[in-house]
């Protein structure tokens, strides 16, 4: 008995720190230091030539102003696309998550598996498949043309519609899963009671289910919005020069143009805007439960 009671003290006090240290040291070196390095780069000047860049650190905030004015369109477009995609994911994912949580019976795990299954095919190959589906001579364009719903560009590929569609497709599962987790926690007895009290299913949903699913709704929105606003694959494969997002610019500035300070400043702007948006959204929904 005494052994059990004192076992906590028998271990040395440094124990947990030894366990935590390797991962923390790794993340400091390969996550925090790089972020610092990116920040320094964003405040540097290119003192060398185009072919042999030589960065001088100089608290040069003008990179941020330049990035804001030069790439204003791409910045606005990124958050517009990401916002629309998040909303569409929410509208599509909620019914699915609801059905899986409350109405799937013994097929629950099968349905969850089906939601995850597309992940086993590389994200790039799935996005390429949309290029085939939305092609100008494909059946989707034909069908939309017949019923007169084709956007005024006369096509789908290379339009904002295709890029937003690609974002929605790629991130819908990230909305379904957290919504399912929070819906699944709701006691079905509570649903019955709510229906008896409020008589209408819709009011029962609004007064009971929706508020209780807020943590999942918030987590899902972040899991869609954050990667969607930084994405550049959908804009690259399904869009045109008119649909370029922040990610496209950052990628090009870093890897093609090699204007590191401008690219770094733009990356930091992306992160800062996301942070503000996330805080505002969290505050508006009134929940602090993130994990």
């Amino acid at each position: 008995m005494a052994g059990v009671a004192t076992s906590g003290r028998r271990r040395s006090r440094v124990g947990p720190y030894l366990l935590v240290a390797p991962a923390l040291v790794y993340l400091v070196i390969f996550f925090l230091v790089p972020i610092w390095s990116l920040f320094r780069t964003s405040l540097s000047n290119n003192a060398g030539s185009v072919f042999l860049p030589e960065l001088k650190f100089s608290w040069d905030w003008s990179n941020y102003g330049d990035a804001l004015t030069d790439f204003r369109d791409q910045i606005v477009r990124s958050f517009w696309y990401a916002g629309v995609a998040t909303l569409a994911c929410l509208v599509m994912a909620y019914p699915l998550a609801y059905v899986i949580a409350f109405k799937s019976g013994r097929y629950k795990n099968v349905l969850l598996g089906l939601v995850i299954l597309p992940f086993f095919v590389t994200f790039l190959v799935r996005t390429l498949a949309w290029k085939t589906i939305l092609a100008d001579d494909g059946w989707v364009v034909d069908a939309l043309d017949t019923i007169g719903l084709l956007p005024r560009e006369g096509r789908l590929l290379s339009t904002s519609w295709a890029v937003i569609g690609g974002l929605i497709y790629n991130f819908v599962p990230f909305m379904v899963l957290p919504l399912y987790v929070s819906l699944e926690k709701i006691d079905p007895a509570l649903l019955e009671a709510a229906r008896d009290l409020y008589s209408g299913s819709w009011r029962a949903f609004r007064k009971v289910v929706l508020p209780l699913s807020m943590p999942g709704l918030l987590a899902g929105s972040l899991l869609v919005f954050i990667p969607a606003s930084g994405d550049f694959i959908n804009a690259d494969y399904l869009g045109s020069t008119q649909t370029r997002m922040i990610g496209n610019v950052v990628q090009q500035q870093f890897l093609v143009v090699k204007d590191y300070p401008a690219a770094a400043a733009l990356s930091f702007l992306l992160m800062a805007i996301i942070l503000v948006a996330v805080l505002a959204y969290t505050w508006a929904l009134g929940t602090e439960e993130l994990v």
Binding site: G3, V4, S7, G8, G15, V20, A23, L24, Y26, L27, F30, F31, I35, S37, L38, M92, P95, L96, K103, G105, R106, K108, L114, V115, L117, F119, F120, V121, F123, L124, V125, R126, L128, A129, T132, I133, Y169, P173, P188, A189, E192, R195, S201, W202, I226, S229, G230, D231, F232, I233, Y237, G247, V250, Q251, F254, Y260, S267, L270, V278, V291
Partner: protein, 288 residues
Amino acid sequence: MAAAPTIEARPSGDVVGAPAAERRRGRPGRLGDFVLRLVAGLVLVYLFIPIAVIIAFSFNDPSGKFNLTWQGFTLDNWADPFRYPQLTDALWTSLQVAVLSTAVSIVLGTLVAVALVRQRFTGDKLVETFLVLPLTAPEIVLGASLLTLFLDLGWNRGFGTIIIAHIAFEVSFVALVVRARVRGLDWTLEDAAMDLGAPPLRTFLRVTLPLIVPGIVAAAMLSAALSLDDFIITYFNSGSTLTYPLYVNAATKASLPPQINVLATAILLLSLLLIGVMALWQRRRLTA
């Protein structure tokens, strides 16, 4: 997930009784219920439209360099899946990266998870917050920041930097998954083993490890899947090394052979097989 109770398993009917359920079935809610199921079904179908296209196009016989429009049915691609050595090499590189990076991140992440679950210590909340941080940054920022670090250090980018980058984003996932899976475990079993005279190493191997293995397996699968599928972070830190997603991206600019679809389909089938085998194994373990 296996422990998640299904609706039938819950005694929900006891609260209001069967009449309530019957009454509900008679209401106009029935139409709403149908619409709800229909929408959910359509969303599921939507998730699989591209998958169906990918599988179908693995049997395509493209006339040009790009396997993007349907020309005709052939089995040739499946007869010769490894026709493009660059593609096969890239896939092999991806598998190596996934295994190596997952091996390291499993060790780092599991240690943190065990420390967080088992004991309270000063700063544990801080550690948890720090672990979540890499998950809240967009991938492009993670990739770009590592690139600036490697540029600052003057390191050549390639296989090594890809592994470093993958571990950096996998550790947090592993730690959070393992933590979630081992949270409710009975750690007094460890004390019992030690009280019975087992030395620490033996206790760890015979008691602790078997307890946390299911969590570790789940985390390892997630970590490997993330690694195999990662494009953005890898793209910034790969140098001239090609992983499978990087090969696909390069191919979109030059030529898209149907073997990409063949291998994607094969990976999907192999994953399904693996999941099936694991599910059977788990069921046998539970019933044994």
